[in-house]
């Protein structure tokens, strides 16, 4: 029998744990106490501190339902008795262990014993003191108890990162480290900082802890130490980081200085074959100049593009695909319209904003993209681009040579009012304040650097409505394509009436234009008498 022996082992540990408790309580008393946990949310409200205790899952099927554990409820109860994290978490080499009352994963029986002894033990003691306490029976904890969760991921965005940089006085090594392959020790290499997630994954990889474990140990430990030193500190409770209400309260720095890690200001996008160094731009027929410094301001984290590591795209996404890049070719990695980290995928996400979506929501996403747009990024290799030339300088020159389009036609060239009366039957013609509409769209486009870069012509904006025809000051009439509805020769093409209605209503809906409502017919055209 193993269980009794484990119990004895734990009993032997008890004095040690008690000693640590007393010591830590003493130290805390000296060094300053943690802020009190936030008040208990009202019953039934979603909460961010739900932990599913199902550690036995790795030993096979669970015999009983996993325990739904509300972390902050316990923190609160312990704080009322002047107890802190150490009541449940043992101090490991560097920080407190995230595991309950143990430092490492132990056997099935030992794991069970740890929880059963300490949970019910504490519940019994508390009840014996006549205070409200938790369950001591099996089913008291082991039951399916759905609790609404408000938990949300938290990332280190630029603002939060900057506040940490400032608090740590530019000592990047406090958080950033890497494993030295020779000594197998964690070292810091200046200029080689990476995303936490590039090593700390969802699942443990060899010795590397999961992101969850690493983040909770490192973040909370540092926050606790700063609190103890009475310095400005971050949250130590679940909701402080993971509850949307608390996340909204996190201070945002508006002007975040640029993060420097040796990245270029402008560069030529690299391309490489598998297992070979990047191809020299001088050997390529066309090149893409990329404004790195500009894009840094558009995204919240480096991770938005450098989704796996901080290396260049081509180091994983080679021309023909490689294992490191999950066989996603460079071409796909840049152009995939539905991918978050691809150029076009990110541009499409921007185009979903109300100012753009009026037109763009109705423009089909093409994968691969329309060839008409290639030249917006891909330009022929410029004259005088020698082998080994300064890529940054070439890229800067190419970017400066671009002529962003910020305006549409002059006012007098835009018809002021347009009356659509070709279909007039029950209703009179619809009077369209054409110029006002164009100006409203142009205002949104003028404010967007993306639009300025990709709207190639002053007439590009017109193509939001006057689509599927070349740019022209006098575009073809809608009726030249949209005729009778449900024409079997063009089964997907809306008839004229639906074409008008869809265009107006969809644009209004996506731009948040509330009036006239779609069902208010007379809001656009008067009823015939």
């Amino acid at each position: 029998m193993t269980a009794p022996r484990n119990d004895r082992a734990l009993l032997r540990l008890l004095p040690v744990a008690a000693g640590i408790l007393v010591l830590s309580a003493f130290l805390l008393g000296v060094q300053g106490a943690a802020p009190p946990p936030p008040p208990e949310p009202e019953p039934g409200r979603p909460r961010a501190d739900i932990i599913r205790i199902d550690g036995l899952r790795r030993f096979g099927k669970l015999e009983r339902p996993a325990v739904t554990y509300l972390h902050e409820k316990h923190t609160r109860a312990l704080a009322a008795r002047n107890l802190d994290c150490l009541a449940c978490h043992l101090p490991a080499e560097k920080a407190l262990s995230t595991k309950f009352k143990r430092l490492e994963d132990v056997s099935r029986e030992q794991t069970m014993a740890v929880y059963h002894t300490h949970c019910t033990g504490c519940h019994r003691e508390t009840a014996a003191r006549g205070e409200p306490s938790g369950p001591v029976s099996c089913a008291g904890c082991h039951q399916e108890r759905p609790v609404a969760s408000s938990w949300r991921d938290i990332g280190m965005d630029r603002s939060l990162h900057y506040r940490h940089v400032k608090a740590q006085e530019n000592r990047c090594e406090v958080c950033h480290h890497e494993r030295d392959p020779a000594t197998q020790k964690l070292v810091y290499v200046k200029g080689n900082e990476n995303n936490c997630r590039s090593c700390h994954r969802e699942e443990p990889v060899e010795k590397v802890r999961t992101l969850r474990q690493a983040a909770h140990e490192q973040c909370i430990d540092c926050h606790r130490k700063r609190i103890a030193r009475k310095e400005e500190s971050g949250p130590i409770y679940c909701s402080g980081c993971h509850d949307p209400a608390f996340q909204a309260k996190v201070e945002k720095v508006k002007e975040v200085p640029r993060l420097l890690r040796g990245q270029p200001d402008q560069t030529l996008v690299k391309a490489a074959r598998r297992g070979a160094p990047p191809i020299d731009p001088a050997e390529r027929a066309a090149v893409v100049a990329f404004n790195h410094i500009g894009h840094e301001a558009y995204v919240d984290t480096c991770r938005a593009c450098h989704h796996a590591t901080m290396a260049s795209c081509a180091s994983c996404h080679t021309l023909e695909g490689a294992k490191e890049g999950k066989f996603v070719t460079l071409q796909t990695a840049m152009h995939r319209g539905t991918a978050e980290a691809s150029c076009i995928g990110c541009h499409n996400a921007v185009k979903a904003k109300p100012a753009c979506a009026g037109c763009h929501a109705a423009i089909p996403v093409k994968d691969p993209p329309d060839v008409a747009g290639c030249a917006s990024c891909h330009v022929p290799r410029p004259e005088g681009l020698e082998k080994g030339a300064d890529r940054q300088a070439v890229a800067r020159r190419l970017l400066e040579a671009r002529s962003p389009v910020r305006a549409t036609y002059a006012d007098e060239e835009i018809p002021e009012n347009v009356e659509i009366k070709v279909l007039s039957r029950t209703y009179e013609g619809a009077k369209l304040p054409h110029r006002r509409i164009v100006k409203a769209l142009a205002k949104g486009a003028a404010e967007s650097r993306l639009a300025a870069a990709f709207h190639r012509d002053p007439g590009t904006l017109c193509q939001g409505c006057h689509h599927h025809s070349p740019v022209a000051k006098k575009p073809p009439a809608c009726a030249s394509c949209h005729a009778q509805p449900f024409d079997p020769r063009h089964p997907g093409r809306p008839g004229l009436q639906a074409a008008y209605h869809l265009q107006c209503m969809e644009c209004h809906r996506h731009m948040g234009v509330e009036k006239p409502v779609a069902t208010d017919c007379t809001g656009c055209h008067k009823e015939k008498r």
Binding site: G337, T338, A361, P364, V365, K366, P485, F486, P488, P491, G492, P494, G495, Q497, A498, H501, L502, M505, R509, A518, T519, C521
Partner: protein, 364 residues
């Protein structure tokens, strides 16, 4: 000789299974629906519907249905979830507070014109017809008013004119079949201002739906409701939110309703047609068996009688022979006795008369 009920049912089941295996059994004699490649349909795009009720109005007009209690311009009726009734072939319902949707969503309800209609499969007088154009139509002249169609329909579409005492009808959308025949669009489709209802050949509509999904990633769920539901329907729906959120059943499965009942119902016409033949056959078999049995019995009896007679004769002969023998022995015994007496009477004289003496013979 009789057959048990159990054995009879066993034969029937086997006959039904044989029919099912032999080909597509169309319960209650449905026409094969897969054979209309140019059948029409309508694709309802939830993302395009604005909830204007123009379809309801047009439906009422073209089908000459009774006027509604509240006018079609009154969008306040959308506050309640409605269903089709005997005066309404189609309704639009509003669904609010759906996660992932910006505002309220609307869904039009009408007969979906199943490829293999449950209503038709349940009707034992063939009041429903699946037409080659895709419409499922109803013939009131043969309807007996059993309302099995209403129970059978998984979409709860057919309704009944309960308020008519003498000529109640089952009422449901006809896909404007009379208009389709004239080359006109269904009333609702014609009236829809935003082509939330796309009309066309069903196979084209499937392609259009897939194209929209590909061209506008994220706008639609990758599911065309009605492509396979209940074996496929002529009217189909695409949506950006789960279909259950807009009141559509997601538990229907892809098996056409007739498929579920064909095993049992497929037997019915067989029973009706084969009954006399079958029973006559069973009767003939039984009769033949009875006759043979009788003949065999008679032959056996005859043989047994013959055998018994022969034995009796033999016994008689033996008995007669024995009697003769006994008689002879008795005579001899008597003769011998008489001779001995005679000899004693001659008495006392020297014994043994000479043979051949006259005194030696004495009449018995």
């Amino acid at each position: 000789m009789s057959i048990s009920r159990r054995r009879f049912l066993g034969w029937m089941g086997a006959a039904g299974a044989g029919l099912a295996a032999g080909g597509r059994a169309h319960a209650a004699a449905l026409p094969p629906s897969g054979g209309h490649p140019d059948a029409l349909g309508v694709l309802f795009d939830v993302t395009r519907c604005i909830g204007c009720r123009k379809c309801e109005e047009a439906c009422n007009r073209v089908n000459e249905l009774p006027p509604p209690e509240r006018p079609f311009q009154d969008l306040g009726v959308l506050q309640k979830t409605r269903r089709t009734d005997a005066r309404t072939y189609t309704v639009v319902n509003r669904y609010e507070g759906i996660p992932g949707a910006k505002g309220p969503l609307y869904r039009k309800i009408q007969c979906n014109h199943c490829l293999e209609p449950a209503c038709a499969s349940a009707c034992f007088v063939r009041a429903f017809t699946k037409n080659p154009d895709g419409a499922v139509t109803y013939d009131e002249s043969v309807c007996v008013g059993c309302r099995y169609c209403m129970i059978a329909c998984p979409f709860e579409i057919p309704t009944y004119e309960y308020d008519k005492a003498l000529t109640p009808r089952v009422m449901k959308c006809t896909f404007c079949h009379p208009r389709l025949v004239q080359g006109l669009l269904p009333g609702c489709v014609e009236a829809c201002p935003s082509e939330a209802l796309t009309f066309g050949r069903r196979r084209d509509l499937l392609r259009i739906a897939r194209e929209r999904m590909a061209q506008f990633p994220g706008r639609y769920l990758d599911h065309i409701y009605g492509e396979f539901e209940m074996g496929g329907t002529a009217w189909m729906t695409i949506s950006g939110v789960p279909f259950a959120a807009i009141g559509m059943r997601e538990d229907l499965g892809t098996t056409p309703a007739p498929e579920l009942t064909k095993g049992a119902l497929g037997v019915v016409p067989v029973v009706a047609a084969m009954w006399p033949v079958l029973l006559t056959g069973i009767y003939a078999i039984n009769r033949r068996r009875d006759r043979i049995a009788r003949e065999e019995r008679e032959a056996a009896v005859a043989a047994a009688v013959a055998r018994a007679e022969a034995e009796a004769k033999k016994k008689l002969a033996e008995a007669l022979a024995k009697a003769e023998k006994d008689k002879k022995a008795a005579i001899e015994r008597e003769v011998k006795k008489a001779l001995e007496e005679a000899a004693r009477a001659r008495g006392e004289a020297p014994a043994g008369p000479a043979p051949g003496t006259p005194g030696a013979t004495k009449p018995a």
